[in-house]
Subunit: 176 residues, 2 copies
DNA sequence: AGAATGATTAGATATTTATCAAATCAATAT
DNA sequence: ATATTGATTTGATAAATATCTAATCATTCT
């Protein structure tokens, strides 16, 4: 398991917090902590062993006792550090776009024009890839290209201009 | 429930950490996060609502969407702050002593001399309360007092000196 | 060596809770 | 008005785990 997540899981328990607070006051040992908290030594041991293997506490023997103590370094860490994901999953934005595109395009055709602005923009951006950068188109040419995707080329052409993907002047069109 | 513990519990889950990391990049909404993480919107909503009621995230409506965002204050807190117990249970040390004393003393008599050093010291400290501060005792007087607690006054007297609770010079004894 | 005692492990149990599908709510666009 | 769609709630289920008792281990004192 993720190391940070492991620590957070171990911190999410009342008993373990009580144990850590006891150790903040002074180093201690299983039976004493058990007695203080009115909990079985077996349970205390169970928690301490878990926290030890996560590097949160350490222990050493002294006479009869296993003396446990805090590993302070870990607790000085700012909370945000424990939360931050070291290996972020790749580009959530792209993943979302792919979902939308695969939903609205079937066999290269646009099955419907999304009502929602966000999704509509994604779909329009996909269609506009069929236009060349810098080239000037007549309205008829624009409609022919759009028509490959969807019957209602008028609506789509208008939308493209509305959301700023395409410019128009005197019946001449170009993409931006 | 304790407020801090509640936050720690909420942080101890992979999915919620993923959600928080998504929100660290940018504000987002249920469906998008669900899509990014390949998890049901119902589940994302469930987590967000929990975190919202703990004050970790906040949300507001925008068009179709409920836009969720981080409540940054909470995450700037140092980890140790979340762990520290604001209402410490009263004097674990005393509680432990009481346990030991009630175990070894029955009806005012010492039933046995503890083998373990720590417990022995507690018991001896209890017996020494019967001596007056600053007063000088003969060996016979010392033994008489100790004898009220236990037959083996010799051992106990010796132990008291060994662990520094009592001093002896030329057959004269006094406590410290 | 053997007795005493604190620590740990093993096995069993009960509680918590993350997740999903389906139903319902709420806001918006046509 | 009504259809659409994102958000939330509900009910059910499966997985994780804190806790206890009893048994075993390891160390120390006599």
């Amino acid at each position: 398991m993720n190391e940070k997540l492991e620590i957070l899981k171990l911190l999410a328990d009342k008993t373990r917090l009580d144990i850590l607070n006891a150790l903040m006051k002074e180093d201690s040992y299983v039976e004493k902590i058990a007695c203080d908290l009115s909990i079985t030594p077996a349970t205390i041991c169970y928690h301490l062993k878990k926290m030890e293997s996560a590097g949160m506490v350490k222990c050493s023997r002294s006479q009869f006792y296993m003396i446990y103590s805090l590993n302070k370094d870990i607790f000085d860490m700012p909370l945000i550090e424990l939360i931050k994901n070291d290996t972020p999953l790749d580009s959530s934005e792209d993943k979302y776009k792919k979902e939308v595109i695969s939903h609205f395009f079937k066999f290269g055709k646009l099955v419907s024009i999304p009502t929602q602005r966000k999704k509509r923009e994604i779909v329009l951006a996909e269609i506009i890839k069929s236009f060349e950068e810098g080239k000037i188109y007549s309205e008829k040419e624009v409609d022919e290209i759009i028509h490959k995707f969807h019957e209602d080329h008028c609506t789509i052409r208008r939308e493209m201009i509305a959301c700023g993907l395409m410019k128009r002047e005197n019946g001449r069109y170009w993409i931006i």
